[in-house]
């Protein structure tokens, strides 16, 4: 599915803590990040992408535009999504994550605002957050699907490929396979210019 990035404004993280005083002993285990879309009309959310930094669980709440005059309410669209299977160890700690429309609990038709609630119950980490947050909406539909593969697997040895139409979402690594360069002759040989 092609997608278009939506410009968003990510507000600073707010730590949820009991009491007012920030002690050096305790660290907040819950952070909230608000994401607003100041210059964009309510849109249909396709994908949320980010780089994790030691967040263990993620909850997302969304506020959608309603046609009636009732004030828009916050609805949980993702509950306690696990990013780190073991919060005390490094597994999944710095991974890139994509969350799609079909993983959400509610319809994401007219998104106004998002609220990301990050949880890290382990006291081992000094800080945690999510980085490089990007929100995508559905791109124009006429670009079509770039790759279609027959679902049968190696058992029958079928690798049927149909490249339908070129699209701008062609993954970069397909055009740049792992280089296996031959080194230039060592030291003495004078290289050709250009």
């Amino acid at each position: 599915m092609s997608r278009v990035s939506v410009p968003c404004h990510v507000k600073g993280t707010v730590a949820l803590q009991v009491g007012d005083v920030r002690t050096s002993q305790g660290r907040p285990g819950v952070l909230v990040i608000d994401v607003t879309f100041p210059s964009v009309a309510p849109f249909e959310l396709q994908e949320i992408m980010f780089k994790n930094y030691y967040t263990a669980f993620l909850t997302i709440r969304v506020r959608q535009h309603t046609s009636t005059h009732t004030p828009a309410k916050w609805v949980t669209c993702l509950r306690d999504y696990c990013l780190m299977p073991d919060p005390h160890s490094e597994e999944g700690a710095q991974e890139y994550v994509s969350l799609f429309k079909h993983q959400m609990l509610c319809d994401m038709g007219k998104v106004l605002e998002l609220r990301l609630i990050l949880r890290q119950p382990s006291p081992l980490w000094l800080s945690f957050t999510v980085e490089e947050l990007q929100i995508y909406q559905q791109g124009p539909k006429d670009l079509g699907i770039w790759l279609q593969v027959s679902p049968t697997l190696p058992a029958s040895g079928q690798y049927a490929f149909a490249l339908q139409s070129p699209s701008m979402t062609f993954p970069k690594w397909l055009s740049h396979p792992v280089p296996c360069e031959q080194p230039a002759p060592l030291l003495e040989v004078s290289p050709h210019p250009g």
Binding site: E90, S98, V149, P151, F161, K172, V178, Q182, A184
Partner: protein, 526 residues
């Protein structure tokens, strides 16, 4: 689900992309063209008939083996937004640590170079080339003056780097709290515990037959050994990589081992491969690298002094010198956290078009590197075959033993796994050793870095390496290290210094690997 289908599509696309550049692709194309002349291929069902032909003639099996090999070696495609460094190593601080370690090695190499005023590489004069060609099969008789050379680094230097590895986001207080690890490794990687290891190594259990245990003279061969050999021969005749990998988890009969390993590593003996090796040999003869002297020194210091391996000295030179010049090894740096050192042609410092990798394969040998090759000499006598097997073993397994990464088979995880196993299941021993200043990792590190080569008896070592291939993981090295400590626990409890602890564990050549592993994993009361 939509997500899984697109993941699968990505994996298939990646494998097809890789295989398209291989000789197998060209061979399959040739075979398909040639098959058109066969009577059973009909135009109206061309695709199906050719597929049927491939199935019967064994080419489909070869393709399956190639796909299986790709799945084993290359990591799955990661998130599309992840940069290539992320595929090498996801954790940023480990990448940084590996980068600074590499800088140190290069500095050491460069300073040795300038001290001795030897160029990194030079073209050999014709006379010297002829001489080397004549002496190719007996390079061991050469006695060049290597006294001024010293190895670039030894395993204990690398251990110091790993001990100082810290995650900046981790609570590393100076005072000991529940956060500091009791062992030497202070990074919180995820390692398996014994229940998970039992599940992972289920074929090593007490109810399954093992070569290394159930083939001893007291056990009648009808119980296990004969049947196992028969199955092994069947696997070899079917030429199926995946079946061979599953089979070898219970050990490989000595007679079948060479072929089984070649099948699992998916090496071929086509004329192109022999030609490739000959080309590398020509490169060795034409150019002399500084790294060659390091290899000479390493072989003379380690393998030549070993009772089991000194006979293979000449083979080691033939393999390692060619290995340094093999640029196809550069491919493995896509999933290795290390990066090959770059050098620039004289006078063109900083210009990317004049950058070359030094050595050509990007791997700088350290003290003990030749021990990775030595055990293979027992299995393969033909240099080009021996070379191929070593290269495959290196780009699949051995590179993880000397680069800093968070991979479960990486040396950092192996060290942490060893220390965790020891602390959890032998807490008294661990505490005692720590109190006398003999941290267990200081003794077992050298075993794991060399994959126990040179420490175990050769037949036991080959049984251990069978399991490394079978499970496609190096974790068994850490388990064996812990099992050795468990075996000698009584003696170790009585020592009072690091030197004495080392003396207790100095000689492992009488140990039987498989009983130790079985007892530690499956028969220890916890």
């Amino acid at each position: 689900m939509l997500q899984e289908e697109s993941d699968l599509a990505l994996i298939i696309a990646q494998i097809v992309q890789k295989l398209k550049g291989s000789t197998l692709y060209a061979q399959l194309e040739r075979q398909a063209w040639a098959s058109l002349q066969r009577p059973e291929i009909k135009l109206e069902s061309l695709k199906e008939d050719i597929k049927e032909f491939f199935k019967i003639s064994g080419w489909e099996k070869k393709l399956q083996n190639a796909v299986y090999s790709e799945l084993n070696v290359f990591p799955l495609p990661s998130h599309p937004a992840a940069p290539p460094e992320h595929l090498k190593e996801p954790l940023v601080y480990m990448r940084k640590a590996q980068g600074s370690w590499e800088k140190r090695i290069l500095k050491s190499l460069n300073s040795m170079c300038t001290e001795l005023s030897i160029p990194l590489a030079r073209k050999r004069p014709v006379g010297e080339q002829k001489e080397l060609l004549n002496k190719w099969n007996e390079m061991g008789t050469d006695e060049p003056d290597l006294s001024l050379f010293r190895p670039v680094y030894a395993p204990k230097d690398f251990l110091e780097v790993l001990i100082n590895l810290r995650n900046p986001n981790y609570e590393n207080g100076d005072s000991h709290s529940f956060r500091t690890h009791l062992g030497l490794i202070q990074v919180p990687l995820k390692v398996k515990d014994i229940p998970e290891l039992k599940e992972f190594f289920v074929e090593l259990g007490l109810t399954a037959g093992q070569l290394g245990i159930d083939d001893s003279t007291q056990v009648p061969p009808e119980l296990f050994e004969n049947e196992h050999v028969r199955i092994g021969q069947k696997v070899l005749s079917e030429q199926d990589s995946a079946a061979a990998q599953q089979y070898i988890r219970q050990g490989s009969p000595t007679a079948l081992r060479a072929e089984l390993w070649a099948l699992i590593l998916n090496t071929s003996s086509q004329p192109e491969d022999i030609l490739y090796y000959e080309q590398l040999k020509t490169n060795v003869i034409q150019h002399d690298l500084l790294v060659d002297s390091l290899i000479y020194k390493d072989v003379k210091l380690t393998a030549s002094n070993d009772d089991y391996y000194f006979v293979f000295e000449d083979y080691l030179y033939q393999v390692l010198l060619c290995f340094s010049r093999d640029t196809s090894v550069l491919g493995h740096f896509a999933y290795n956290s290390a990066s090959p050192p770059k050098s620039y042609i004289r006078g063109k410092l900083g210009l990317e078009e004049y950058a070359v990798f030094y050595p050509p394969n990007g791997v700088i040998p350290f003290h003990g590197f030749s021990m990775y090759v030595a055990p293979l000499c027992f299995l393969y006598h033909e240099p080009s075959k021996l070379y191929q097997i070593f290269r495959e073993m290196y780009v699949r397994f051995f590179f993880r033993l000397h680069s800093i990464s968070s991979h479960p088979s990486g040396i950092v995880s192996l060290c942490l796994l060893f220390e965790t196993l020891l602390q959890t299941y032998l807490p008294q021993l661990f505490y005692h050793l720590r109190e006398i200043g003999a941290q267990p990792l200081r003794i077992s590190f050298k075993w794991m870095v060399r994959a126990f080569s040179g420490y175990l008896a050769t037949d036991q070592l080959l049984l251990l390496w069978d399991r490394i291939l079978g499970y496609n993981s190096l974790e068994i090295l850490a388990v064996l290290a812990a099992a050795v400590f468990a075996f000698r626990a009584v003696n170790l409890m009585e020592v009072t210094s690091l030197a004495a602890a080392e003396a207790v564990l100095a000689d492992l050549s009488t140990l039987k690997v498989m009983p130790l592993l079985q007892i530690f994993l499956f028969a220890t009361v916890t």
